[in-house]
Amino acid sequence: MARMKFLCDAERCIECNGCVTACKNENEVPWGVNRRRVVTVNDGVVGAEKSISVACMHCSDAPCMAVCPVDCFYKTADGVVLHDKDLCIGCGYCFYACPFGAPQFPQAGAFGLRGKMDKCTFCAGGPEPDRSEAEFKKYGRNRLSEGKLPACAEMCATKALLGGDGDTIADIYRQRVTVRGKGAEVWGWGTAYGPPKGGQAATGSKS
């Protein structure tokens, strides 16, 4: 069974925000809400700047599900964490519980009211008939029901952002870092990927 996950390769992300734009466009996300965003650390420091694209990570043990007072979250059979907007009361508990800041709240009201929570759906829609107008308006496009993967990952130009079956994208990433070639200079590299091929020292220069 597939377990849907995202994986962002900080060595490849060039902070182009293509994933953010793809998500906005594909799901027609309301004003003031960004389901995905790019976070940059050491901004402007030459050689140390790294970017990573962050959205809902569809946790295996999701804290948002645990804290929701109206139990509007559910997890699909393929591991995607979704919620029912008809039940959501916009309390914001999930926002505080989430370590990634994934839950977002539209603030378009005249009195600064907090609307119903909106977050990344892994392009899997929500609890409305699949591919229906109602589903699109509330949750965005249901690409999984079309046999497609999230628009952000498929749009990523450098393929820094991988999305899909956890085992498959882990295989892609493992092959990538093995080809990239690193070794003891990266903590835990040998543990994760084994010794360098042929007993040769790693040739990678970046760490």
């Binding site: 509007c72 919620h83 929500g126 029901s145 079309e146 498959t168």
Partner: protein, 86 residues
């Protein structure tokens, strides 16, 4: 105060002091939310589109395994080592 009373008081104080050594679990246990909303249909309960990434072997409506295979096939397109070779 008799010797027996003193011993009893000391023993009682000892028991009270030992009570401080007891430890209750500090972390609350995780409680999985019980979803109360509307049911959702799984993605494999939809007919495939006219064009899919695996147009030769499209998934069968209602068959989870064939849909998963379709997704995994599409997943592998994200690996440029496979697309363009090593």
């Amino acid at each position: 105060m008799s010797g027996r009373t003193v011993v009893a008081i000391v023993a009682a104080l000892g028991l009270v002091a030992l009570g401080g050594c007891g430890e209750k679990p500090q972390a609350s246990s995780f409680k999985q939310g019980k979803y109360q909303g509307k049911p959702d249909t799984p993605p494999w309960d939809n007919a495939p589109l006219a064009y899919t990434s695996n147009s030769v072997n499209k998934w069968t409506k209602g068959d989870q395994k064939s849909w998963t295979d379709e997704i995994k096939t599409r997943n592998k397109f994200q690996n440029e080592y496979v697309r363009i070779g090593d």
